[in-house]
């Protein structure tokens, strides 16, 4: 009897790990790749230091050695402090972002095989989140830490041309909160011992920046910044709400006291509590209006969460749109801010009303609905990986330690070929499939398989090497 596999999803901010086929991950812990801080790199492959000045914003890509050392430490702590199992006994299922940088994958695999002797690594893409809820049509909206993505999946087939990403996520909210707290002199600090408010703007600023870092964050190392952002994210998690701009709601005063430590507290105003999440729905007008000071700490994305979703729907076929709109699936921790669903529908409807660009989508206005499921959004794709662990034979994107080492010894200087999501030619038992007379592409398409919605897209036939296309013609 095989031991249950380990399922791992390394996210930009939190890593989920546990055992297949359990219904919840055992642990959700911060992705701690210190001394590197590469959450942006993990989602989109570029690194921009958001806190620094625009002028010296330079992409700092981690080197292979840095990555390997950080990953070694991180995976070591996963196996020996959290999961407490022997790494060489259990297969590993990695739920990975579709756009994960190649270098990172190579390093991850090399560390896992060479240092931890994992017998088999299976790659599962985040679209596996459809597995636990047994749907094959969904508009998956993944709001992560540094990036948000939309993946429409129709009848088990990913609509690749309509995949959209935008660099909006929890990190933006943190930056925004940081900015608001420091720049708005209205932030009130309370002395816990004397139980009184301190009203002294200059002193306040210095005090506050001690806890959440100063405006440019230049003189704080990664370790310290890690702590500062964790305070910011804690404030957002505990206080922020997605409220809709109804006049009745804005008047209610629901200020909250946040305790920084035993000496000081700050008051989070209802303005921040209710309005912070609006940052994700900011339109271009607001972006132009804001001060240069604030633009400095901002990333420059075009559009917002809603335009990303609508753009994606525009790129889908007409027949697919309504079905997708009826089956919105939210994944990612950012979507767990209370009231997110109502806010999203509200903003979608409003944009459809106001923006002429989306006039062809207007009939969808009353058709936005969410898939109901009993799980939490932050670990849904992990759960998909966990369930797929039960039927590993059917998942083709995997690599075993034997084939890895064989490649390694044959071509020591060449990067090892990993199973790529867009390239089925690399699957291990490819020859076996060919000999059995089934073309892998057709195989997945005909059987309406959910094992890889992405690969079953017909859009990818062009990427397949000639060999496979000729063999399918025979």
């Amino acid at each position: 009897m095989d031991k249950s596999s380990v399922v791992l999803e390394i996210g930009g901010c939190f890593t989920k790990c546990g055992f297949s086929p359990e219904s919840t991950p055992r642990f959700i812990l911060p992705t701690n790749l210190l001394p590197l801080s590469i959450s942006t790199y993990l989602s989109s492959g570029t690194v921009y230091d958001n806190t620094n000045n625009i002028n010296d914003k330079k992409p700092t890509l981690p080197t292979q050695n840095q990555l390997k050392e950080s990953l070694y430490d991180f995976i070591h702590s996963l196996y020996f402090e959290y999961l407490l199992v022997k790494s060489d006994e259990r297969k590993l299922i990695i739920v990975e972002n579709l756009y994960l940088p190649r270098l990172f994958r190579q390093c991850l695999v090399s560390v896992l095989f060479e240092q931890f002797k994992v017998p088999l690594i299976v790659f599962v893409n985040p679209l596996a989140c459809l597995v636990p809820i047994l749907k094959n049509t969904a508009l998956i909206i993944d709001c992560g830490y540094s990036e948000s993505r939309v993946y429409p999946v129709y009848e088990g087939i990913g609509v690749v041309k309509a995949f959209e990403t935008i660099s909006l996520g929890f990190q933006i909210l943190e930056n925004q909160l940081h900015y608001k707290l420091l720049k708005d002199s209205a932030t009130i600090i309370k002395d816990n011992k004397k139980n009184q408010m301190i009203i002294d703007p200059d002193n306040n600023l210095a005090l506050l920046s001690k806890y959440i870092g100063d405006s440019d964050g230049s003189n704080s190392d990664n370790n310290k910044r890690f702590k500062e952002t964790s305070i910011l994210s804690d404030i957002i998690v505990k206080t922020c709400l997605c409220t809709i701009n109804n006049n009745s709601n804005t008047n209610t005063n629901n200020n909250v006291i946040y305790k920084l430590d035993k000496d000081y507290s700050i008051e989070i105003s209802s303005q921040i509590r209710n309005k912070l999440v609006d940052r994700l729905y900011r339109n271009e007008m607001e972006q132009e209006n804001e001060s240069i000071d604030q633009q400095r700490v901002d990333t420059f994305e075009e559009g917002n969460l809603v335009t990303m979703i609508l753009d994606s729907l525009l790129k889908c076929e007409h027949d697919q749109r309504k079905a997708l709109a009826h089956n919105i699936l939210l994944i990612g921790g950012t979507t767990m801010i209370p009231g997110f669903k109502r806010k999203l529908v509200y903003q979608l409807t409003r944009t459809l009303d106001q923006d002429d660009q989306y006039v062809s989508l207007k009939p969808l206005a009353k058709h936005f609905n969410f898939i109901q499921h009993p799980f939490q959004a932050n670990y849904l794709s992990w759960l998909g990986g966990s369930l797929l662990g039960n039927v590993l034979d059917q998942v083709h994107s995997k690599i075993s330690i034997e084939s890895y080492l064989q490649q390694r010894t044959q071509y020591p200087s060449r990067a090892v070929q990993l199973p790529e999501i867009e390239n089925l030619a690399n699957i291990n038992n490819y020859t076996q499939i060919i000999s059995s007379g089934i073309n892998p592409l057709q195989f997945t398409r005909s059987a309406q398989s959910l094992f890889s919605p992405y690969t079953s897209s017909s859009d990818f036939s062009a990427y397949l090497p000639l060999k496979s296309s000729t063999s399918s013609n025979e």
Binding site: S23, D73, P132, I133, I257, K341
Partner: protein, 580 residues
Amino acid sequence: MHSIRSNNHCSFNLYNDNNQILKYSCFCGKAFNLTELYYCNGCQQINCRYCITEEIDFHYCPNCIENLNSAEASVNGNKCKKCFECPVCFNTLTYSVIGSKDVNTVTSPPTAGVTSPTTTAATPTTGETYFLNCGFCKWNSLDLKDEFKFDMPSLKAKKESSIQQLQVNKSIEALNKEAAELTSLKDKKTINRIKLAQAMKHFLGPQSKHQKHNQRKNFNKVEDRWESTSMAHPVPHNHLVPTPPPGQTLLSEAAIAQRVQPITMTEADQMQQQRIDAREFETLDPLGDTVKYDDDITPFLRDQVTECDQVSSLDQRFKNIAHSSLSTSSIHPQRKHLITKRSKRCKRCDKLLVKSEISLTKTEFKRQHFAFTYVPRVQITRVLWIDNDIFEVFLQFTNPLHIPLFINFPMSIKGSFISTDDNSQPIDLCEHETYINGILDETDDLEKESIIQTLKQNENPRYIIDRKDNKLTMKFIGKVGIEEEQIAPKDNNNNEEITNLTIIHLTESLANLSTSTEIPKFNSQFKDIKFTITLEFSTSSLSTAPSTSSSTTTADKQQKTLLKLLFDIPSNKFENTLQQ
């Protein structure tokens, strides 16, 4: 190979600047503080934490020190059977008895052998029930009432019946069927047939004879398994397809006998319309007050929260992922997570480096090969400039062993004398082999004794400053800047060339500057002076004939260990740096 200064890993080294100054290079080239390294007896080399393999010996609870083997631990989900963690502050909870007037606090958990509270809490016969109490944040389990029970089976049963678990079970079943099907379908033909059947599903009745029996079964399963969502439900009745009389199927003879009516234009239009209708989705009012979303803002969050501590933090939610709650008052305590004792092995020769005692009450190790207890410890006692860009370092070597250690500074080694980032290099150091006494200084070995005597006689007072107990103070002279030829080419790591160290003997007057009372001040080119000293050490003499200076070739290769010391001295630590 170039050695690299790596960041220390242990937290006590991390924030102490003095522990960054001197690093010992591992065989693999990464240099750490001495306390983070191991020394393998088998291959006589230093191991850093990347050069060891670890394995878990056993699991234990950090609170009640109960020993569990890995099978037991995995059954319990790597959690302790008795100990609970506070859901708010993660402190260990204590058991208290309800009922007795003065709340009798029992240290958690009661010693093994005595009836454990886990059982007493479940059995009402004793008349006493326990509750959990946090000594730090004053949280207690009384507020949770009956929702929470102590014993393991009840928690387990609860989990299995939760909605999540039911849905997961359903999904697993569907997946297994799908997988079985995919493996059983051998040829393309069958797949095509099933595909056709799926396409025709609206026209063929469930009893159609066009399919073989087993395929029909398969097909029906596929039907049920997927919640088809792109189609509206139920699929509207198509009146062009005759309804079979009850008890008969569509393609039975009686049904065929009824005959299909010829299609008229209007009927064709209707058919078109129905096809459109079939795609019609119910309109929703997603923003209406009647629609409820599961993440809607509750009045609790909107109005009642006045302090942030009333809302649970991410850490608190992640402790109990399945039943997390937004409010701090309704989160449940979790069982304490186990920790492990691990043994460590050398990656090169698989010899045990660290092995702890099985008994948890013992804190010492069965086997401990920390570099700290095997490798000569080095301390910088004094560092000063003696001329522009020429500096003098006084190093104190401490022998941690009971027997004398012999050390030597090789003049040529495989690889490089220079480490990455180095901006200086030693130029004048002791070329002769020397020794450091052991702690006890009682050598029975006459041969060694005689070698030590000869070494002592040949000793050059210019380099050997002081000798006391198991300590030896030596002097080195280094200069800022690196000679190009000393740098081994970086790209050919595999076949390392032999590099040589050039020694420049400085004049006596310059070398003796440190003894003079008045020391002139000098500028420092760099903020940090980084250089590397390479030495060999062994418990037996490195050369049988100590008089020959280059001892590397004649010495017993099995026995000696090459050690690189990587210095990174901030210029303000020098005695006479000119402050700018």
